[in-house]
Amino acid sequence: MKDRLTRNWIVLAGIWTVLLLAPYWMAPLGGYTALATRVLVLGLAAMSLNFLLGFTGVLSFGHAAWFGLGAYGAGLTLKYLALSTPLAVIVGMLLGGLCGAVLGALLVRRRGVYFAMVTIAFGQVFYYIAFQWSSLTGGDDGLRGFSRQPIDLGLFKLDISSNAYSFYYFVLFCFAVVVGAMGFILRSPFGRTMIAIRENERRSRFLGIPVERHIWIAFTLSCFFMASAGALYALVNNFADPRGLHYSQSGDFVMMAVMGGMRSFWGPLLGAAVFVVLQDYLSSITVNWMSFVGLLFVLVVLFFPRGLLGFLQRSKA
């Protein structure tokens, strides 16, 4: 027991060291800081989805909607409301999270494939809104004309707008806050009931857990986390894309979570890293990258359904 605890601490320290030093070790390996930032943000999104998918066992296939709403919330804030990066992140998070909370209440009674189907369909609503409401959202071209602003910390200014390093650490800070919240919730008694629902819903119900309400809370939290990732993504690109709300984006997020390992906390981050790097690489060498990404989906499902971490853990055991 004590051994496992120390090992967990070592792993955790290792992960954070790797993340903290990412801008330094990525360059020699042929990467660039912006890529690290993107991996971090998409990894956060995949982890947010996995909070619901892997730990509550609820299959949402429309999570891109909350991601995209976060992005538009942040973009619109910077463009029309105020030139403040933290405010943009908070507004984005609130927009996606609150919309998720309202729709979640409609959805919680569905299970399995039906939940997936209804979430896909509702997710598309936001895609169409972003696509059609051109005067506000820029329609098909996406929302442009905003950029992330330096953060005034009183003592000094954090220049995240032009300095890629500072921006990476700003994103890493947000990442740490959200992931910390996730970990904290999963360790709490509430987190335990989420896992109980995943393992055996009927038994949890007999134990007196209000299953619907807990699924709704888990769904809503997951939407808030997701929206914060979306808000950060808008800052990464200084751009919000309607395709970020599309169900194919949701599919990518589910894929990242599955590929990394749904049953583990950090798996989706690994999945996101592999997915982003692979997609980057494939689209640079072939126009038929879609086929290869599709093939990746098929192969992972057929041969690595437990994901990379699941695979490693099993071969170790």
């Binding site: 997936a116 169409y128 059609q132 499902v301």
Partner: protein, 289 residues
């Protein structure tokens, strides 16, 4: 104004007929195998391109007869090789797999037939309008609706009166008992999948004659088909039929008054149905959970 409204309602019915064909196939597969077939739009595209390829040799009528069964055979192979290993596992996996498959099919058709749209020639007597007043009622549109009606009627006969159909319906209700009665469930699922893909292939051929062919055309039809199923009620094929027509007509009428919302309105319809009648119009209690 009346003419415009009539035009859009006719349009809506025709589009709705497409949704019905797509959604019935999706619904069959979903009900029996618990698989959301994301690649269904892909199979539609395959059906259309097969028709395009064989039309020079066998003519339009030959393509109409041959392309759907050929698509169904491709579907059978896909089911056997890729989807069968996933039955009994978390539905997440079949969802992801067919999702990837849709990518492969879209990219594959683009690779084989090129990204440009392809026309499918239809017999001239079908493409002429029936009257000058109602210019939009071309023979082909009536013909499409007729084919859809025949296909749907045949499907209902198949499901009601043949042994296979009765087994499919029984399996939808309780697959375990069906298996316990000594029926080969794997075979049943395969045939059921093939019937669903046949319908997708048929809609592909019909769509090719009306709209021409593009590798991406399947994805646009997929989401309305999902909504047709949800609105009609999961588990009910009659519901899917009515749901498909309903959303087609609704979006057609909306196009008259508020064109920008013609796509979004079907989602509103879905939200209203889910709020007021969570199981859908014809769904049975508890089917959705």
């Amino acid at each position: 104004m009346t003419l415009l409204l009539l035009f859009n309602i006719t349009n809506g019915l025709i589009v709705g007929a497409f949704y019905v064909l797509m959604a019935l196939g999706l619904s069959l597969i979903l009900n029996l195998s618990n698989v959301i077939n994301f690649a269904h739009g892909g199979f539609l595209v395959i059906g259309g391109y097969i028709a395009y390829t064989i039309t020079p040799y066998v003519g339009f009528w030959g393509a109409l007869l041959l392309a759907p069964p050929l698509t169904a055979i491709i579907g059978l192979v896909v089911e056997r090789v890729l989807i069968r290993p996933l039955y009994g596992r978390d539905p997440l996996y079949s969802l992801l797999l067919t999702f990837g498959l849709a990518f492969i099919i879209e990219d594959g058709t683009r690779f084989i037939w090129g990204p440009q749209g392809k026309p499918v020639t239809i017999p001239p007597f079908l493409s002429a309008p029936l009257s000058n007043e109602l210019f939009f009622v071309t023979g082909y549109r009536l013909f499409m609706v007729a084919v859809v009606i025949v296909a749907v009627a045949l499907l209902f006969v198949l499901l009601r009166y043949t042994r296979l159909g009765i087994r499919i319906r029984a399996g939808t209700l309780d697959l375990e008992t069906v298996a316990a009665l000594g029926i080969n469930v794997q075979m049943l699922r395969s045939l059921n999948f093939a019937v669903g893909i046949f319908l997708a292939g048929l809609s592909g051929v019909l769509a090719a004659g009306q709209l021409g062919l593009e590798p991406t055309m399947g994805t646009g039809l997929l989401m309305p088909s999902f909504i047709a199923i949800i609105v009609g009620g999961i588990g009910s094929l009659l519901g899917t039929l009515i749901g498909g027509l309903l959303i087609g007509v609704t979006s057609g009428i909306t196009a008259v008054f508020f064109p920008a919302a013609s796509e979004a309105v079907i989602y509103v319809l879905m939200a209203v149905i889910l709020l007021t009648r969570p199981r859908g119009l014809f769904g049975e209690e508890g089917m959705m959970s």
